[in-house]
Symmetry: C2
Subunit: 134 residues, 2 copies
DNA sequence: CTCCATTGCTACGTTTTCAGTAGCAAGAGA
DNA sequence: TCTCTTGCTACTGAAAACGTAGCAATGGAG
């Protein structure tokens, strides 16, 4: 391999398709589903790492970038920023100069639907305990 | 760190901690949260790619591995298998010889909590439409 | 038994995403 | 001016996901 001659130095980015990354949204094909059904976009969106956690941490009020970063246990700023962009783009949260990042009305409706999951998670925990040390 | 002198050659796998991968579960620290609170484990679990989708596709009955793979739009078998292991380990689904993969009672309770998300997602879609072409 | 199809995976090389750290520009005080 | 906070961007290395190939086991059909 490696034919002698020249061109041995630069071989970095042969793929110039540097398309902008967009958040999943209803009406567009998402990962694993080309139908554009809203629920599929939602599944794709909240299936991304940190998305659910970010919404969860904002449930009781707005947080600044740094506060949110800390609340998420030290998530790296690049990923946090990417997720915040996704969530802003899809209308779930917004950035207020004064207070930081806060959920929109739409975002609040979503997290309200998600709060009962706490109860389920606790049943789940008890169930798993029983299964392990019976 | 790294006292000078020698040992400059091999530097491949300095981390031999090849621990088995375990699914997030209540009572244990998860990504970004050391408290072990059940809801954090749940957020970690369903924040993994494909987990929510798999549960969604199983909502109306059991599917075989291949059927599930197809239902998820051609997810790669290695990832599917990993997610199925997570979900079995956490008691959300089980593998029946005859019918394939099916949700447990616990899993069904979870997806029942998640079905209203369809309605939210549709409001979301309408909202985004209004915001784009007003 | 041989042939073929189906099922549930495993292997492995490539690509994408995430993690972790460093650091910078802008603004607010002191 | 100096310092501090805030909201990021850049970069490198590690982990996760993708995509394809393929294999062992099972179950008929002929």
């Amino acid at each position: 391999m490696a034919p002698p001659g020249k061109a041995q130095k630069t071989a970095k980015k042969p793929a110039p398709k540097a398309a902008k990354k967009t958040a999943p949204r209803p009406g567009r094909p998402v990962r694993g589903s080309a139908t554009g059904r809203p629920v599929m976009a939602l599944i794709d969106l909240i299936g991304r790492r940190w998305v659910l956690r970010i919404l969860w941490e904002l449930r009781s009020g707005p947080l600044t970038f740094r506060a949110l970063q800390e609340a998420c246990g030290g998530i790296s700023p690049s990923v946090l920023n990417a997720r915040l962009a996704d969530l802003k783009e899809t209308g779930l949260l917004e950035h207020e100069e004064a207070e930081g990042y806060r959920m929109t009305q739409l975002g609040r409706e979503l997290t309200e639907q998600l709060t009962p999951l706490t109860g389920w998670a606790e049943r789940w925990a008890r169930q798993l305990e029983k299964m392990q040390k019976p």
